[in-house]
Symmetry: C2
Subunit: 309 residues, 2 copies
C-alpha cells in the first residue's frame, strides 16, 4: 500500500503489542502489528511507529495519528494524565498532543482513567469502552474486559462510575510458565482460556468461587495431583484457569451480581468468561476487543473532526 | 580440611541450593554449600556432590552420605518413592540406597511424604520435621515450614497425620520480580519477609485473612496506590507479603485454630510468620530450618548405625 487514501491512523499500543490501522473514506484500508519493543521516551516510540506505518505516509502530507494504551504511561511516548472517574466516555476531553519529529505525523494520545479509592488505573481499556458505548449508547451495567489485567467496569449513563482490576492473566502466565506448576500445565500458552476440559474448569471454578480461601492451597494441589494421580496437562491447565477465574469472580461479586454484563475481549478468552459467568447464572453479551478499540479510536476521531483540529 | 576424622556426610539438597555437612565424633567438622546446578540423573548429581565434598574424602576409605530433598525427586539423582501419611517420623524406613560411581562414597536418600486426599507431596521438609521431633519427642500440634512452598503439618504421637502446601514464597517471588508489581515493590529480594513496614504488613494481612476473596483485586491495587498515592517500595513489599500470607492463613485455618504451633525456617521469614500468627492470637514457637534438617539427618544416621549398615 502506498499511502494514497489514508486519512488517519489509529494505534492500539499495549504493553506487549502495537496494532496500527490505516483508515480512509472507505473505512479500514490496512492493518499492521508488531511487538512493543519501544523504550521509555518519544524517540524510541517514534522509531517503532515509523517502522510500522512508514509505508502509509507520503512526503509533504501530514497524517493524524490517534493512539491509546501504554503509549501514554510513564514508560511510554509521553505521560498523559489520567482522567478521574466518574468520567464521561468522551475521550476527546483529555486527549494529549504528543511531540513528534517526523513532519508527516501529528500524534494525539488518549487519556487513561484513574480512581481514587480503591486506587485503580487503566490505559487502553477506556478506548474499548468508548468504542462499545458508541455502538451501545444506552448500555447500563458492567463491562468485563478479561486479559493480563482484567477490568470490571460499572457503566451508567455513558459514564464509567467505578472499576476494579484482577491480575488473573498475569498470574496464569507466571504460574503456568515459570512456577513449579509448569511441569504439570503443559502445552502451548493459550492465556487463561479454559481449554478443552470443561469439567475440570467448572469444578475448579466452583471451589474458589464458593470458598475463595482455598486458592492458596489448591494451586499446589495441581502439582501434587499430577505427580500422584496422573492429572494430565489439559486438565491441569483447565484447573489452573478455573481456580484463578473463580477467585476473580469471588472478588468481583458486586460487579456481576444482578447486573447486565458484556464481556469485551479476544474470542477464546471471552468465551471462557462467558462460561464462568453462566455458572453463577449470568448470561453475558460479548464484543471483540480489537474491534472495540478501533471503534473507540474512530469515535475520538469523529470528536476531533467536530473540533476541526 | 583433609578429611581426617570425617565419619559421614549429611546433605540437604533442595531445588535451589545444596548444603553439605561433614560430621565426626565431635559433631559438625565443616560445612559447604552451592547452587543446585545438577541435571536430572545420577551422573550430574554425583559430579556436583564431588565438587562440594571431594576435599573431605580419602583414598581407600568409604564415607556414608545421607541426603534429603529434591535429590530424591524425578528430576533428582534417583527417584525415591514417597512414604504415605499417616507416617511415623522414623525416616530409616524408606531410605533408598542410590547408585554411586566413586568408590569413596556410599549414598542413601531419605524418602519424601505423600498424601492421597487432598493430594500433597513434600521432599526435604520431612527431614526437618524428623529433626524437630528428635528434640521435641512429645510435640503434638502443627508445624509450619514457610518457604517457596510453605508446608503446614499436623503432628500427633510422632506421626505426620496430614499436611497442606501453599505456594506463598513462589507467588511472592514471581509477583515481586516479574509482574507489573515489580515497578512498585523495589529493593533487593528478601523473600516473603514482612520487612520494615509492620503497619502495612498487618493491615494487608487482615484484609485477606478476614476477606480472602479480596486477594484477586487487592494485588493490583499495590501498583495503583504507588502510581496515584505515592505508596513507597518498602510499604508495597510489606503489603504484598501481608496479602499473600493472609491468604495462606485463611486457607490453613484448620491447621492453626486452637493448635500448638512451631514455625521451622530461616530466622527472618519465621519471624514474619510468628508476627502473622500473633495477629490471630496464636503464640508460635520457632526452630531454625537448617539446624532441623541437620538434626533430622543425624537422627537417620543414628537409626542406620543401630542397623549396623
Amino acid at each position: 500500500m502506498d499511502g494514497n487514501g489514508v486519512d488517519w491512523i489509529g494505534v492500539d499500543w499495549g504493553s506487549t503489542r502495537v496494532r496500527a490501522t490505516a483508515l480512509g473514506a472507505g473505512g479500514v484500508l490496512d492493518q499492521r502489528d508488531a511487538p512493543n519493543t519501544a523504550m521509555a521516551g518519544a524517540a524510541s516510540h517514534e522509531a517503532l511507529l515509523l517502522d510500522l506505518v512508514g509505508g502509509w505516509l507520503r512526503p509533504g502530507v501530514q497524517i493524524p495519528v490517534l493512539a491509546c494504551g501504554m503509549v501514554g504511561s510513564r514508560q511510554g511516548w509521553v505521560e498523559v494524565p489520567y482522567r478521574k472517574v466518574p468520567a464521561a466516555m468522551d475521550l476527546v476531553q483529555g486527549l494529549s498532543a504528543a511531540p513528534v519529529q517526523d513532519p508527516r505525523l501529528r500524534l494525539w494520545i488518549a487519556p487513561g482513567l484513574s480512581q481514587e479509592s480503591p486506587a485503580e488505573v487503566m490505559r487502553g481499556e477506556e478506548t474499548q469502552i468508548a468504542g462499545f458505548l458508541a455502538g451501545n449508547p444506552d448500555f447500563d451495567g458492567v463491562l468485563c474486559l478479561p486479559g493480563t489485567h482484567s477490568k470490571w467496569v460499572h457503566i451508567s449513563a455513558r459514564e464509567v462510575v467505578s472499576f476494579r482490576t484482577a491480575m488473573t492473566g498475569e498470574l496464569f502466565a507466571l504460574l503456568s510458565s515459570q512456577s513449579v506448576l509448569r511441569h504439570s500445565v503443559g502445552g502451548p500458552d493459550a492465556g487463561t482460556e479454559a481449554g478443552t476440559d470443561a469439567g475440570a474448569f467448572v469444578a475448579a471454578l466452583g471451589q474458589t468461587l464458593s470458598r475463595p480461601e482455598r486458592l492458596a492451597a489448591e494451586l499446589f494441589s495441581i502439582r501434587s495431583e499430577s505427580l500422584l494421580h496422573g492429572l494430565g496437562p489439559d486438565a491441569a491447565r483447565a484447573r489452573l484457569s478455573g481456580l484463578l477465574i473463580g477467585a476473580e469472580l469471588a472478588a468481583m461479586r458486586p460487579y456481576w451480581l444482578g447486573q447486565r454484563i458484556a464481556v469485551i475481549g479476544a474470542n477464546g478468552l471471552s468465551q471462557t468468561y462467558v462460561r464462568a459467568l453462566a455458572e453463577v447464572g449470568v448470561t453475558a453479551e460479548t464484543a471483540d476487543g480489537a474491534a472495540m478499540a478501533l471503534a473507540g479510536l474512530v469515535a475520538i476521531r469523529s470528536g476531533l473532526a467536530g473540533q476541526a483540529v
